[in-house]
């Protein structure tokens, strides 16, 4: 039995190493390429090894005004969208899980259904809606980075609300009854009891909202075109790829820098990240 177990363990490690190689090859290769000069990239040497490591790609990108613009746009959009998401979804989740009103059960289901509607279904009608809005009011929405502030919440709010409903529902009813008896209003019950108790869920939802807004590609690609309005993923793809000339050293550096914020958050808050990931399907 114990010999069986030992062999099972050895096989497990063997296959885990294989899968880890499969899963980590692209990011590692990003790093390898980002440390090379253009000359080394096009040389006929072993592509998996850096012979003359250099940080020139990083220096060039981090001092390039357009890259910094993309980065700033991404950061501003993500931070505002995360705040909006929490401001909308936390009170809504509280109302839906604790204070029943007419149609609240339908709305909870509707929120979940909204989460299942992909952005690829909505980008064309939204594009046309913004164009019509422009005709009516003369306010231009297309090709402005802040238009993303209206559309990103449609991706983050339903899921964040859904996770928060799950977390709020797991708080015992006695707790808010006690608060009500002590004279706390609904708002106080939410801020003094629900938010502190459901803090892990709140963090998970925040992380989720941030990663989604940081990674979103279709909406900015469809709605923004001028170089100064682009967010990072679109900026890297449209500005670093010029025609058929690929500057791979810089593209990989940009991609790695674009992947860094979610990766750093993940490295520090892995447990919350995973809790948020599994909450969507296992709670509720």
């Amino acid at each position: 039995m114990s010999r069986d177990r030992r062999w099972a363990l050895r096989w497990s490690y063997f296959f885990l190493v294989l899968f880890a190689i499969f899963f980590l090859t692209p990011p590692v290769y990003m790093l390898i390429t980002s440390l090379k000069t253009s000359a080394e990239i096009s040389a006929a040497t072993n592509p998996w090894w850096v012979y003359h490591p250099t940080l020139s790609n990083y220096i060039e990108l981090l001092t390039s005004p357009s890259f910094l613009t993309y980065f700033r746009n991404s950061a501003v959009v993500s931070v505002i969208v995360v705040s909006l998401t929490m401001l909308i979804s936390v009170p809504a989740a509280f109302a839906l899980s604790r204070m029943k009103f007419w149609g609240s059960a339908t709305l909870a289901t509707g929120v979940f259904l909204t989460y299942l509607i992909p952005e690829t279904l909505l980008f064309l009608p939204l594009f046309k809606m913004f164009a019509v809005f422009n005709e009516w009011t003369d306010i231009q929405l297309i090709n402005r980075w802040w238009v993303l502030l209206f559309v990103y919440p449609t991706l983050t709010v339903p899921f964040a609300t859904w996770i928060m409903i799950g977390y709020f529902a797991s708080i015992p009813k006695e707790l808010d009854e006690a608060a009500l008896i002590d004279g706390a209003g609904w708002l106080q019950t939410l801020t003094k009891i629900f938010i502190p108790v459901a803090l892990p869920g709140l963090i998970a939802a925040t992380i989720f909202a941030f990663t989604v807004s940081w990674a979103q590609f279709l909406y900015p690609l469809a709605f923004t075109t001028s170089a100064d309005q682009l967010v990072l993923p679109v900026g890297i793809i449209t500005s670093l790829i010029k025609g058929d000339v690929f500057n791979w050293g810089q593209i990989m550096t940009g991609a790695l820098l674009g992947a860094a914020p979610p990766l750093i958050i993940y490295a520090f808050l892995m447990d919350y990240y995973i809790a948020g990931l599994t909450a969507g399907a296992t709670k509720g």
Binding site: P91, L121, K128, A222
Partner: protein, 310 residues
Amino acid sequence: MVDAVIQRSEVAVPARRRTGLRRTMQRKSTVAFLMALPLILLIGLFVVYPALYSLHLATLNKSMERFVGLDNFFFLFKRETFWMVVQQSCIFAITAVIFKAIIGFIVAHFVHNVPAKGQRKWRGMLLVPWVIPPAMSTLAWLWLFDPSYSAFNWVLAVFGVGPVPWTGDANWARLSVILVNVWIGAPFFMIMYLAALKSVPEQLYEAAAIDGANWWQRIWFVTLPMMRNIIAITALFSLIVTFANFDIVRILTAGGPIDRTHVFATWAFWLGIQGGDIPLGASVSLFMVPILAVAAIFILRDISKRGNEA
């Protein structure tokens, strides 16, 4: 407590109409509705309205001035590319989900086998593809697949295998797109299955071992039935996301070579944004709805079923 009561009776003195309004404002259901109002507005304005609007758009001509009924759909049915896109989307989504589920299941098992202390480390490492923004990691794959400098082909050449046209040949390109999708999505399945594996009671395995079950029988008769729910729901979720996928195809092949890898989303983008024919693009993306609806119904049924059990 006493203060609160006193305050409330003082407030109740002014004119009746104001107290009426006040009372409505303090009613639980009104407060609740107001708290949910931003959510309702957001969903109504930016999800429900555009969804219905796309139905309307699909019935207009290219310049969006004339009602043409179902002409856009008839036009699509006559085009060979449309049927190719339907076929490719289905092959892409189904194959990718099956491989993600299998790889996710296998990896979850191996992680579960490892002593609890090391599990965190492995789990953390294996989830990395899911954390990186897909647009960014697809760029890395694009570079790994590069026609002249492919790092994969370099490795293959060491073993004497000829250069593979990763994104150049139609079938290889389809395979590459699926490979990248599996790479991004398998970790999600792994995490979900790992959570499910941990919830299977140890006694069941002990009982199975006493009955003389081998490892295969343990998986088939204990693990799989216990995880059936989570397997189904994860697969359905993933089916929706994979079916509607845009980033990977767009960056890796942009639909090429000669439209051989287009899926609904990328073709709709190509027609609607780049081609300027929004109604036709909207008609294409509407074809995703039936499959999404079926998957959504199954997910909802499953969730409400579990809601009743709890």
